[in-house]
Amino acid sequence: MNLMYVLALLVPVAFVLGWWASRQVGARRSGAEVSELSSDYFRGLNYLLNEEQDKAIEVFLKLAEYNRDTVETHLALGNLFRRRGEVDRAIRLHQHLVSRPGLSDAMKTVALLELGEDYMRAGLLDRAEALFSDLVAMDAHAPSALRHLIAIYQHERDWHKAIEHARRLEVMTGEDEAPMIAQFYCELADRSRQHGARAEARDYLHQAFECQPDCVRAFMLTGRLQSEDGHHVEAVTAYEAAVAADIAFTPEILPPLLNSYAHSQQMERAEGFLRSMLERYHGVSPVLALTHLYRQRDGERAAIDFLTTQLRLRPSVRGLMALIDATMDKIEGEARENFLILRDLTKKLLEGQAMYRCSRCGFGAKAHHWQCPSCKSWSTIRPIHGVASE
């Protein structure tokens, strides 16, 4: 009878021990899987860092098959696909993530944000807009969603909506978006000006100045409006204010400014202003403008003397070309032939040069853009200062 008690006690004790041992073995095995996953993860990361995206995708795909619950791996894969231009795969992956049952709300909104970016990359702007609007309405990743929405409205040139969302972003993040909003108002003003709605254009410019009192573009547009209306004295004032606001835009401002000086017959004021510019601005544009002014007023000799003196102080290919053009008529024979060769050479040198560069992304451009075509930032494209350019 005693033996039966012992046996009855032994069976449950052995049961518990067997159950515990089995759990221990299972835990150890899953631990091995985790470490295998970790090693794969780091291998994928290594490929990414080495810019070997094909191999990284292969590793991450394998990783995603191992552990279908790893949302982060899927998100990384989707990003990789999008970066490689395989937008359709990225969209399918992110859609799959969004439709996954049991996914936490936080992860679902991240996947939605990624999906919106996929749509943007694929050019499906209406779908992206709907997604980002939903995210903003849900107050999930709202600043990022708002930034994407602003980018979409900029692309669609829907400046009113861009302004509305930029203001919301400003309130949400506390960051100063006023310079960007001023640019949007300038876009609206320019559009109104082109359509002949001059009062509306002035109203938009007024709002641009309210956002950014020293907005160069708004000053330039004001000058242009005044000049087109025949108010050249006011145009001169606006252009001079534009130079004072940001001297870097001098090459853009000088041609219309000189035109307004000429129309308002204020050549003395023009000379004084350009002289003061020589001290403040180290580019060649004011020198060329003054040379032109002296040629008209004092004759070719005075212009050449001034240009020669200035070129010694600030050597420039554009200045050299102006000097060659000015002296060409006075030279004959073999020297003239040599000058022609030199002029062609400098012309070709200038033709291949980027005259402007984005101070944010380094994008080089031959013409001026208010919004960088590459990084889409505003008012960052500026003239390049150097011997071959400004």
Partner: protein, 85 residues
């Protein structure tokens, strides 16, 4: 750690042999459909082995059924994937 496990295992084997030798006399069991006679040591060992196996089996069944359920849910989610735009 492994050496300690081997030593403990050897101690248990030795204890089993000793217990088996000391309890070699037969004991009868009535299992309702059959009557068996077993040595006392074998009965003890059998109880331990059966309990251990039942415990391990229960734990394994619990884990594997949970994994199967998750896998089925995942497959259903895959089938519901929306069409490619």
């Amino acid at each position: 750690m492994r050496l300690l496990a081997i030593i403990i295992l050897l101690i248990f084997i030795a204890a089993g042999i000793v217990l088996g030798a000391l309890n070699a006399d037969l004991v009868g069991y009535d299992l309702a459909f059959a009557r068996v006679k077993l040595p006392k040591g074998a009965a003890l060992l059998g109880a331990v082995v059966i309990g251990w196996l039942l415990g391990g089996l229960t734990a394994w069944l619990g884990v594997s059924s949970r994994q199967r359920r998750q896998h089925r849910q995942q497959s259903r989610a895959d089938k519901k994937l929306p069409a490619q735009p």
